[in-house]
């Protein structure tokens, strides 16, 4: 039976792990994701999780254990943040290259230096080319729902690609909400039994995993890997629908909030989207035709769907909670601007970098963005393509 529980983001992830029949958890705790690992350890100690719980000596080793366990044929997860994800770096690429359906909860946190423990998307944006599917969550409920779906997506035979689910450090990981926790058995049935394709523990077959590829095969293997993530959109869509039919909360590639009739649009992911909705409600009352597009899936990037949703708008502001020093704007902006290139009629588009190191973003900041969009839509002029929100200039 569905129950309503007051849980924070970290606890919702641990609840999901408890429910999905996990075989191996390998994780090294790091703020702000520590409580995920801590709660899982408690579940394990209480006999609520049957799988193995491994505490290695670093995040690099944690991902290495995940890779070994997944290659052996297990359903595997980990959780980390910021420096922890950075330390996993080379192993992230190996997990994706070996097509191992590992699922990771990444509690988004700023990367050092300067050292900081608060939420931004620098960590996962840095991992955007590692080959992992990336799904972002606005609140605790979405973190829970996304994490459950992540196993189905990762393990789908046409996909077989690791998935990371992002939730904002502290804002989501440490904020308590009333979360709908689904029935254990229902979740178990939804996720289903994992059937590995070539588990190393199957000693009846002889094969090698991860042998060397030189100039003659590396390129073909990489292309084959790309096919997995390119197959994933249809699977993500289908599983989002199935999840909705079963549990009543539907998911797709992005959420549209007052988007259909909007002339001006703000694009923002994760927890800031909640604040943005508040701002949009207030601006709508003032008569402004403004809407929100909240991307949920960043990899694979739903470029056609997002471009179709934005092409007829007057002006769009894309807000990124990370920077890409030296690039023309931050990751989300460059994706969306590029996606719109082939449309003859397309909106004016600007980028704001916001919230680095956990800097607050409030309703008033979204209103500041809206004012700029109004100015751009009226004059057709853009003063600056890339701006910084709530920064002392």
């Amino acid at each position: 039976m569905k129950t309503l529980k007051p849980l924070n983001g970290n606890q919702t992830i641990a609840e999901a792990v408890r429910q999905v029949d996990i075989d191996v958890v390998a994780a090294y705790p790091i703020t702000p994701s520590t409580a995920i690992v801590e709660t899982i350890a408690q579940f394990k100690a209480d006999g609520l999780i049957k799988g193995e719980f491994v505490c290695p000596e670093s995040e690099h080793s944690a991902m290495s254990v995940c890779i070994g366990a997944a290659a052996a044929g297990g359903r595997v997860m980990t959780a980390t943040s910021a420096q922890g994800l950075a330390l996993m770096w080379e192993m992230l690429y190996i997990a994706a290259g070996l097509r191992l359906p590992i699922v990771a909860a990444i509690v988004n946190r700023a990367l050092s230096a300067p050292i900081n423990i608060h939420g931004d998307h620098s960590d996962t944006m840095g991992a955007r080319d590692s080959g992992w599917i990336q799904i972002y969550s606005e609140n605790c409920q979405e973190a829970y729902d996304n994490f459950i779906q992540a196993f189905r997506i990762a393990e789908h035979p046409d996909v077989r690609t690791p998935v990371l689910v992002g939730l904002d450090g502290f804002i989501i990981s440490h904020s308590t909400e009333i979360v709908e926790i689904e029935d254990d058995e229902e979740v178990r049935r939804f996720v289903g039994e994992y059937l590995p394709i070539y588990p190393l523990l199957d000693t009846s077959r002889r094969f090698t995993v991860g042998s060397i590829d030189f100039t003659d095969y590396y390129f073909e293997h990489k292309r084959s890997q790309i096919e997995g993530i390119e197959n994933s959109p249809r699977v993500i869509e289908q599983i989002g629908q199935e999840f909705g039919q079963k549990f009543g909360r539907y998911y797709s590639f992005f959420e549209a909030y007052h988007l259909d009739d909007a002339e001006l649009v703000i694009v923002v992911m994760s927890s800031a989207a909640g604040t943005c909705k508040e701002a949009i409600d207030e601006l709508r009352e003032e008569g402004l035709k403004i809407g929100l597009l909240k991307p949920r899936v960043f990899r694979p990037f739903p470029y056609q769907k997002i471009a179709e949703a934005l092409k007829d708008k007057l002006a769009v502001a894309v807000l990124d909670r990370s920077s890409s020093p030296g690039a023309f704007g931050a990751p989300l902006f460059t994706e969306i601007r590029s996606a719109l290139y082939d449309y003859e009629k397309r909106p004016k588009i600007i980028n704001y970098i916001y919230g680095l190191g956990g800097r607050d973003i409030k309703v008033e900041h979204f209103k500041e963005v809206a004012q700029n969009l109004v100015r751009i839509a009226t004059t057709g002029k853009i003063d600056s393509h890339v701006g910084y929100l709530n920064l002392r200039e």
Partner: protein
């Protein structure tokens, strides 16, 4: 040998053709020096056979009879480990091409 297209490859770099290193002539990696077998010095201790990382020591019956240059990478371990004072394996400059050395 015809190489597969990316569509023909098994998922996740998995190689179902276990033992296929027999078709990969690691001897092509060798450069500079190669081991030379001097039969009259050989005490048949099999140290070279034991230490060789590429199974490139030729054995016939129960006797070491030489080096398989198709797989010898020229690492020199066999020459290093060869116990007699007058060694039965010494490293010499590579003079001949692989094809002729087979």
């Amino acid at each position: 040998m015809k190489k597969e297209t990316w569509r023909e490859l098994t998922i996740g770099t998995i190689n179902l053709n276990a033992g296929n290193s027999i078709t990969n002539l690691t001897g092509t990696w060798r450069s500079g020096k190669k081991p030379e077998f001097i039969e009259e010095n050989c005490i048949q201790c099999f140290f070279c056979w034991l230490y060789c990382p590429h199974f490139a020591i030729k054995v016939e019956g129960e006797k070491v009879i030489g080096i398989n240059y198709d797989y010898c990478t020229g690492c020199g371990l066999c020459a290093e480990e060869c116990p007699p004072k007058e060694k039965a394996i010494i490293m010499v400059p590579e003079e001949i091409k692989l094809a002729e050395g087979r």
